[in-house]
Symmetry: C2
Subunit: 467 residues, 2 copies
Amino acid sequence: MSLRIQPISGFPEFLPEQQIAINRAVDVIRATYESFGFVPIETPAVERTEVLLAKGIAEKEVYGLRRVQEDGAEDSAKELALRFDLTVPLARYVAQHYGKLRFPFRRYQIQPVWRGERAQAGRYRQFVQCDIDVIGDETLSLEYDAEIPAVIFQLFRRLGIGKFTIRINNRKILTGLFQSVGLADDVAVRAALNVVDDLEKIGAGKVLHKLGELGLAAEQAERILHFFDTKGSNDEILAQLKAMEVNAAFAEGVAELEAVVRSAPDHVLPRLDDGELVDVTDERALFPDYFKIDLSIARGLDYYTGTVYETRLDDFPQVGSICSGGRYDDLVGTFVDKTFPGVGISIGLTRLMSRLFDAGIVTPEAAAIAPVLVTVQDRNALPAYKELAARLRRTGIATEVFLDDRKLKAQLRYADRRGFPIVIIASPEELDAGQVVVKNMRYNQEDRVAIAQIGPVVRSLIPVGFE
Amino acid sequence: MSLRIQPISGFPEFLPEQQIAINRAVDVIRATYESFGFVPIETPAVERTEVLLAKGIAEKEVYGLRRVQEDGAEDSAKELALRFDLTVPLARYVAQHYGKLRFPFRRYQIQPVWRGERAQAGRYRQFVQCDIDVIGDETLSLEYDAEIPAVIFQLFRRLGIGKFTIRINNRKILTGLFQSVGLADDVAVRAALNVVDDLEKIGAGKVLHKLGELGLAAEQAERILHFFDTKGSNDEILAQLKAMEVNAAFAEGVAELEAVVRSAPDHVLPRLDDGELVDVTDERALFPDYFKIDLSIARGLDYYTGTVYETRLDDFPQVGSICSGGRYDDLVGTFVDKTFPGVGISIGLTRLMSRLFDAGIVTPEAAAIAPVLVTVQDRNALPAYKELAARLRRTGIATEVFLDDRKLKAQLRYADRRGFPIVIIASPEELDAGQVVVKNMRYNQEDRVAIAQIGPVVRSLIPVGFE
């Protein structure tokens, strides 16, 4: 009897060729994070339910655990629930291991999170997040806020997924602005931030209406909306902001934003002409085109208190923000009587890769991870075919041997369907003579090569995308 | 108010320096798997509960999901449960995506699994497994069984965790033997296999007693026990086995074991003297010392039907098997009306690394992933310090800048505690003159270096273990 296999809605799963592309992206993300000194941590999939709910997430989105077999006894699994982000676990981790960590603590974490959302197109119940955060012990220099855009810039440049824009703002500017029109308490300001965050999506008319609902007079709402007309280059926007006299919070936000915007490019390498790095691209000259102040960025639902970031693909705005984050005054405070300010970003990897696949920006071609398949023409000579593969592996070239007993034609069909770029074919006589045929599958070209020189020849044929 | 932070029993969590060591091990495992052509897949953390339980795992060990917020409505989350191994998800994956996969399907999967076991020393409720399997469509050559030991050999040789032994056996030999003494049905044979599997742990006396409990006469039990005295080199054991006349199943097992043992070394590279690889170690000459027939290996509780493997560290037998697996006639059959034979192994990574840490075989030293820390002596020159770090990154050297406003002494203490091997120190005057001091922390040695040549100098100082 066979069970019917039905995919589980909201829990995405990929074919090998897609997983290979995803893993390559993770390698780039991880290497970039590490290049800035971020260290890896992983936390268990579960946290205590009370720890998770302390941060005010919607209870209905949290998956709890239970024993499948209910035996009447108290089920201690019910005290545990799956994490819904990587930030709460980080806060708990810092509080728990405080004495063994050094601050500023830079950590990266690439793990799945779970959210019991109503499943709908593009919404996942399980997805991988790639987070970095720098956590200070009591204080943390604004300089760390300025380093993050350089990390984002280098990461997506390396991923090669097209032109993108890192948009930056400071929540204090918006908070100051809203306070200046009489939205005094945090709840009202937060509600207004949410409205503003939707400006691009819902348009000016609806924003005015919604601000009215929050108790703002029409004139005040117009004043808010007018503020978001502040446009131009980063320098132009900063000049306009500095000319506005609003209140202390506003001025503080402007000063922070200016410091971060001025300081960020220093982390990106300019073209140098001093011998060592003559030929490098001038990344710093490119950077300004990728890094823009956008006063409408609010990250309304999050706990950010200062700098906020969003990143979008210029040619695929429908993909939405592919990397968001910001500065928070105190993350861990729920758990210990100490202040831990931090700044960080998160990349929603599963959503990003799905959208890149859907939009055709990333097209997984090969379901092969090894570039070479050694076919077996005569099973009596199997040891020689296997040794050939072992030799290629030893020169650092991943190599699969076709070990099932099939005709050469079937083996070549397998190679073609899996997308192997290079196939080795040899008769026992050729092997005896120390020769094989190296077939370049993409150009349908065959070359006879001496086994003793096979390493360099095969390496020269490996296309981009294979190691 | 602060919450009390209490670790969750059975859900291990590591410090950054340990996680770095774990990730380096994963890199080696992944690279080795890929070098043999295994492709990555990942499956969701959950499967349908009915799918998981179809494979006969103890229900009480399975963690189910539920909504934390119970609102009276039917909770569809209760249809889902966390996977307890990577084999059931593989079976479901192959059945679900059959038309889009090519066979033989070689996959690797490195993901956590969850088991609701009673927490005790060394037992984890969440742990990472690193699995490979080759799945055939209806048939799968025994040659794949012979490739696995070469994968294990190269993997643990590269991990560098000391001398180990891959032990191999064939379940048909044991099944045949037990049938020959009258244990006719599967349940009895399985029970006997479990008893034999414990031979090393509980000793001959207890095994005899337990075999008696299974209904074997004393003479038959003695005969079984005597069989396990078959010792010697692989050749000697095979010669003795071939001389025994037991039954057809036994003979088939012996023939398979011989084929696999004879064929396995071909996958390992010998010393070659033909120009390209003159200087390589003769791995094939080493292999026999790492690869032994052990007739007592039964993997009693598993679903293996032919070849079985276990791997242990010679000098740390208490660590137990660090890599186990085998051949199964049909894995996926529960889900579709087709036969998918397979062979695979699993490494219990979390347990392995914990034991290696505990036994001092792996001692994580540095909590730094980047080898270089750039200190900041004068914040007015921050742009120059940051550019220096960007330059090192551009030459491929991961580099952290200390961006908080602290005295140099505090920055050096931070570098020391995090285990940075290389620290860059410079005054603004030195920076203006194009020079910095490169401090080798492990030898407490300082060198003045021109910035224009810093890449090669720093690279030459990076110790093993850093990229």
